[in-house]
Symmetry: C2
Subunit: 469 residues, 2 copies
Amino acid sequence: MNHPAPRAVMPRVLPDELLSGLHDLFGERLSTSRAIREHHGKDESSYDPMLPDAVVFAESTAEVAHAVALCNQHRVPVIPYGTGTSLEGHILALSGGITIDLSRMNRIVAVHPEDLTVTVEPGVTRKQLNQEIRDTGLFFPIDPGADASIGGMAATRASGTNAVRYGTMRENVLALTVVTSDGRVIKTGTRAKKSAAGYDLTRLFVGSEGTLGIITGVTLKLYPQPESISAAVCSFNDIASAVNTVIVAIQAGVPLARVEFLDENGVKAINRHDKLSLPEKPLLLFEFHGSASSVEEQARQVQSIAAEHGAIGFEWATRPEDRSRLWQARHNAYFALLQMRPGSRAISTDVCVPISRLAECLLEAKADCEREQLVHSIIGHVGDGNFHVQMLVDPADPQDIARAEAVNARMVTRAIAMDGTCTGEHGVGIHKMAFLVEEHGEDAIDTMRAVKHALDPHNIMNPGKVVRW
Amino acid sequence: MNHPAPRAVMPRVLPDELLSGLHDLFGERLSTSRAIREHHGKDESSYDPMLPDAVVFAESTAEVAHAVALCNQHRVPVIPYGTGTSLEGHILALSGGITIDLSRMNRIVAVHPEDLTVTVEPGVTRKQLNQEIRDTGLFFPIDPGADASIGGMAATRASGTNAVRYGTMRENVLALTVVTSDGRVIKTGTRAKKSAAGYDLTRLFVGSEGTLGIITGVTLKLYPQPESISAAVCSFNDIASAVNTVIVAIQAGVPLARVEFLDENGVKAINRHDKLSLPEKPLLLFEFHGSASSVEEQARQVQSIAAEHGAIGFEWATRPEDRSRLWQARHNAYFALLQMRPGSRAISTDVCVPISRLAECLLEAKADCEREQLVHSIIGHVGDGNFHVQMLVDPADPQDIARAEAVNARMVTRAIAMDGTCTGEHGVGIHKMAFLVEEHGEDAIDTMRAVKHALDPHNIMNPGKVVRW
């Protein structure tokens, strides 16, 4: 099964009344220029751009509400835009409409250090957030690859390398402010750490990718900056030994903060890119957070578990500069790989399976890539059972792309058969709508669709994404 | 503001076709006897019983689906029943109908120790679960007071004393099997640890209290049994010092497994009931989980923080029997208090606030109880900002009950003003429907109602609970 290509739609003529209404509200912050529309009509997916008919730059929840109410009145699509770093075509204007750029809503609204919470506008990026709260001794752990906006991360249920210890956006959003499809403003929760007060609207909007409402405020959990951090790296002769090391460490209750896997191709790429000399074999990269003695204890425990699984060259990096160098290399892996085939583009997969099936899932994916002679590497958030196969394709060669997409489709089918999911953290967008049906079944998709119809009866909220109307 | 009393409804005559359909399906497991109906028409709330017209004892998801489909066809209410231990009138048959007793669906379906997951039928109780998985070295931490069913705990988003470390049902349910209002069966998720695959149906059904569908299967996260456990207890001259101790410990990143608060009345009650001699002052009871050295380190850290806040008589309980004795006393607190006023019944509140507001919220609640001369005690899951005021009332004295309900209503209003919630863990049922509107506002309630209308168009799923139709 392959994914459907987005339907090409001719540019629409917007109703004058809508345009003049938006102009009254946004003035110079309404744009129909081609350059602005082009910038907002593409993300980091493999799709060609699909442009909105106009873009507005919102500066408040009230402005977003007003804009949505106008669009609702005219039945014109509305697409929220943060940093444009999504990977599955989330922000493409399939049917034209108005893109609401939220990047100017970038204020930290309130920090409550005693409560370990912060409330931000949706355009705040994750790095900006951590920069601005640094003096409180707290931090926000969720780190997708890009410096994404918090609103976009909530909308796509993002995670990253710290999720094994700190969870994903699902676990770390306490409450949202949301503009509904008729332009009303609701608060989905409070700053209470737990609540049994009615339907969980917060979790319903987290991961809804702009299709049920627009997130204009986010209250997040924060965590104390760890007293101590250390990192370690080790290699294995085979993938199964690396994965089993992680399974045993987790079962032993070691509170790993991060544990990332790179296959030998990934290691080769970063060796070349970052001038490292890591053994070109399956590799695990660990990070431990805690008190000085607890970090040392965790690390010793993991070292001994790794040794039992035949680890090679267990190395410590306790100095911040060594840690940073290793993690920087890990973060560069995507770009490092691209340089292995100049002129290529990467297609990235995102399955997530129960960890007991991870080695098998990884090995079958790898064998498939090799059969198809695809230049590839594998990077895994291995503690969560989530990994990305990056396949380098020639963007001008449809057969090359088709081979990579077929590998992805087979991988998804296998992951679902292992009681896993087609997407651990990238979301559905348009790319995975067919996979979503395969994963959940038609009846569950009907339930999702009933929710969509109820909350967005005119199908104006980021239409054509997640579930088919 | 006071809560609405449930509307009394005359017993309904069920359509013959429905009864014969249910009889074909359930045979002797369909009952219309008064004793069975009475048993299923009451919970542990203060409400008078409201009986269903019939009860069926389901043994499989297929049976539940079939029964719901029949009821849907005849527009007859359906109420799921686990152990009957809910506190807010959740299972009362306000409009009659069929109660589906799920207690016979009590099998552990699959344990996956390497993945730290278990899948159970909804009638499995939390104690049964921990008993049955004990040999795996894993445990399930969520512990509401009662030995509730896992299905009921998921339906009410339950938590308990371990939530500060391990989260609530919101964080610990991975996937559900749900029978929808038209009798279809959906799976809301997979065993993958994280997923960005579409709307979060799992979290939508968790806490929906049987009003959107009936939970017939639950996949849960499990945790390694801690290598070491220790407990400690200390007293304070005032409530604020106790709360501030907890705030500082959490901010310092101490991974407290449990931290419970008792006011001096609660301590008096357990001293008398359990023959203890704890100082009759505000008290904190801690539990630490981890490796032997980490537990010791946590405990030392907390002891020093408590000392800075004027703690009195910090005492350790590392031996299992001492720990059990203390925690048993804590668990007995509810019954211990009842004995302080023989013949009385307890009305329990459940607000939860950001922890920085907790001392203030507790003190105002206490002052209000004292003004109203109510016999009361306070028990708090203080690390979460959640506490219960138990007020002893004479069940035959409407004025006494009204005084207690008025104290509760004022407490909820104050908690909401502090950005907290009317219910941390007991749920809404019928008791807190008005508070829910006060907390979320009419527009957010409209959003919840739109979801209810979409997923239960004939209002047959536990009607009259959570949100008004």
